[in-house]
Amino acid sequence: MALCASSFPAIINWGAASDPQKSTPFASHFLGGSDLVLQPLKKLNQVKKRPGGAYASLSEGAEYHSQRPATPLLDTINYPIHMKNLSVKELKQLSEELRSDVVFNVSKTGGHLGSSLGVVELTVALHYVFNAPRDKILWDVGHQSYPHKILTGRRHKMHTMRQTNGLAGFTKRSESEYDCFGTGHSSTTISAGLGMAVGRDLKGERNHVVAVIGDGAMTAGQAYEAMNNAGYLDSDMIVILNDNKQVSLPTANLDGPIPPVGALSSALSRLQSNRPLRELREVAKGVTKQIGGPMHELAAKVDEYARGMISGSGSTLFEELGLYYIGPVDGHNIDDLVSILKEVKITKTTGPVLIHVVTEKGRGYPYAERAADKYHGVVKFDPATGKQFKGNSATQSYTTYFAEALIAEAEADKNIVAIHAAMGGGTGLNLFLRRFPQRCFDVGIAEQHAVTFAAGLACEGLKPFCAIYSSFMQRAYDQVVHDVDLQKLPVRFAMDRAGLVGADGPTHCGAFDVTFMACLPNMVVMAPSDEAELFHMVATAAAIDDRPSCFRYPRGNGIGVQLPPGKKGVPLEVGKGRVLIEGERVALLGYGSAVQSCLAAASLLESHGLRLTVADARFCKPLDHALIRKLAKSHEVLITVEEGSIGGFGSHVAQFLALDGLLDGKVKWRPLVLPDRYIDHGSPVDQLAEAGLTPSHIAATVFNVLEQKREALEVMSSRN
């Protein structure tokens, strides 16, 4: 068929194409599709004579354009049911179109590109063979679900991906019935899938459950817990191991591609490259045949033994856990995928089956294939050149400042080591790795292990800094309590992405860390209000050697204060805050990044003739009692502000005020915290407004407490 033989989407320049940005989503695709179908035949024939033309997806030059690519077949698919009558050849064309659609959409909105490109064929095959939403398809982590979303009725909303009120960047149950489980943190789908399979069995139904999980997510313990249970329960389900040899993020460090972390990865590669001696396999089969009918069990044992011998050490791991292993399979070959999935689908009583699919991250988009990080997460970019439109900022991110601070501390103290869980880029520890390759540990997606591992290091007198996102720290909570805090081991926790995080949404939001860290008896809990404070707090944490400590900092860039000389902080006095602006009547006591909002609120109120006191608490534990007493005794109103949930800083302040008798007097205390609901993904500004923590909200709260309701409304309505 001419349409798929030539390299797609090829060099077709649709001068007459409709303007993609402004087109009303659904209708114009359909119209565009139908009249484009007739036109391309001629143009495509012209380009057919390329040398090496069959390798359609590996286009050499820059053949992607910023206009919406022509996708005649994809335009006819709104839901998976529309795919059921396609032939395998058409499925291949569909994959190509889907791929170019993904590139186009992500180029306009930013998001996760590499992973989505790697699973295009798998997505098409799954939706072709299985009948979602009755059959459950779960996507681990969810960042590779873009093709899935396009095929399940959300194509017209793809331009809103990761934006306020738009599509979520991960699967989300409330968004669509085709997203059967919400993901974001990794390694949860086998567990959830097993739950759905068992639920189905209890109800006596017959649908299928498929869990797609990557090799990176496989390094987490929960995946093994789930597989172990699945093997024991023997319920029918399919686990698809999407193996692209990328375990850590970004899929490279600063100097080049990283070899995968962990022993599991080498086992998986052995599986892939193993050349079984087929002769032995034939012998084994022959023996089975000779043994004949009644002796099923003996034959099964012989075959199992033979498989164990020849299929490499990795598959027996899954077999031991009780999953039937099939693979490896070429994840970009639709023929293979469809035939395997069909076969497994029609086989009754399979028990749990694991299909090992090998894919390539970023496949089909040359810039992604060549990039060291495979374009895992990108901002808006130009499809033709692959160049990302990264904004210019005067300051760097808190992440970078943290890494620099840690490097400065580690230069001075050789006992400082850093640990992270497969997030070298996200935590900035790739910089640390470059400087101190022997002192940086990437444990794979294993936060629980990371914390206890750090505890072990601390026992030996080293000074471990555990850099784990605030939201991922939730996974390691028992280890923090039992292994670190209970024994008072001096492990330092650097919690990045604290507070609201923007486009990633509630799955990555660090709302709870103040609450769950500050309630621990031995933990020192602090938060910097700007980047200079961050440097000082890293130094403080390095200096605290008799108990655990933690500090949290938000996503985003610094505000532009001067950094300490030599980029090395000076340890702060533990349990001491500071007053930034001296005022009267009303005091704003902020914690962490909220202090900046307090300062902004104070300047808003200046014009109304109010001069507020603004203080930076710095420490949530131990609290600066003297400062709080002073503020409570000399002001009418005390407002505590933090970007965290209830039970955090504000609650600790309230507890202290109550115990100290300060609430028996005349001071009015009000807390400002994140509301008691999850804030959806969106731009940081929108999220803060939704949460009610903008400077305008703070100012309005002040007015409300002072019984000046009119001014409160004024301030709220005049914000932009």
Binding site: L58, L202, R206, S273, Y324, V329
Partner: protein, 189 residues
């Protein structure tokens, strides 16, 4: 050169070049007229084309025995020079093309495994740019893939065989019991 290919064991490279298997397979290799597993003309054409170009080492300006540090330095220097953002406006295209080539060169040479493969190719007088090599590797991979295909086909047939007897009376796993229960219920209806 023809005799050396396929029979020398090159340390550190992938198993498929250094075959521990029977002499039959080695014999099969030396029989091939184009001494490498070329299935098609398109690869050959690409190779002829590539032969005229510079090797990665020449591109980066270092010797073939360059250390990884040298490679890195050379890459950084050239990358800074040829990056589209800093190239002179009238020669953007040429510089961009060079930039891409330099990047490919760096990627191949910085990865020890790929570098070993590349060095071997170079010794045989072939310089393949990364993507061309991928297609060549694709052919190689095809053979692996057919191995894979045989393997999973037999795994599938084994799965079917096992599933026939899976829920036989003796199997007391939870899933088996639920399945039996469901079958009985559907029989009753």
């Amino acid at each position: 050169m023809r005799c050396s290919y396929g029979l020398t064991a090159i340390p550190g490279t992938d198993a498929r070049f250094f075959s521990p298997e029977t002499s039959f397979l080695q014999l099969r290799r030396t029989f091939q007229p184009t001494r490498i597993k070329f299935g098609s003309f398109k690869i050959k054409a690409k190779i002829d084309e590539a032969r005229k170009e510079m090797s990665f080492y020449e591109l980066l300006g270092i010797s073939e025995r360059g250390t990884s540090l040298e490679i890195k330095q050379a890459y950084k220097q050239l990358a800074r020079k040829y990056h589209p953002d800093v190239s002179p406006p009238d020669r953007v295209e040429e510089y961009t093309e060079r930039f891409i080539r330099v990047q490919e060169a760096y990627e191949t040479l910085s990865d020890p495994r790929r570098r070993a493969l590349y060095d071997k190719d170079l010794a045989l007088g072939i310089h393949l740019a990364f993507s061309a090599r991928r297609r060549y590797q694709y052919d190689e991979d095809l053979e692996d893939r057919s191995e894979w295909k045989n393997r999973w086909q037999s795994q599938l047939s084994e799965l079917k065989r096992r599933s026939r007897n899976r829920d036989a009376g003796g199997n007391m796993s939870w899933g088996a019991r639920m399945r039996r229960q469901r079958e009985e219920l559907s029989k009753e209806l």
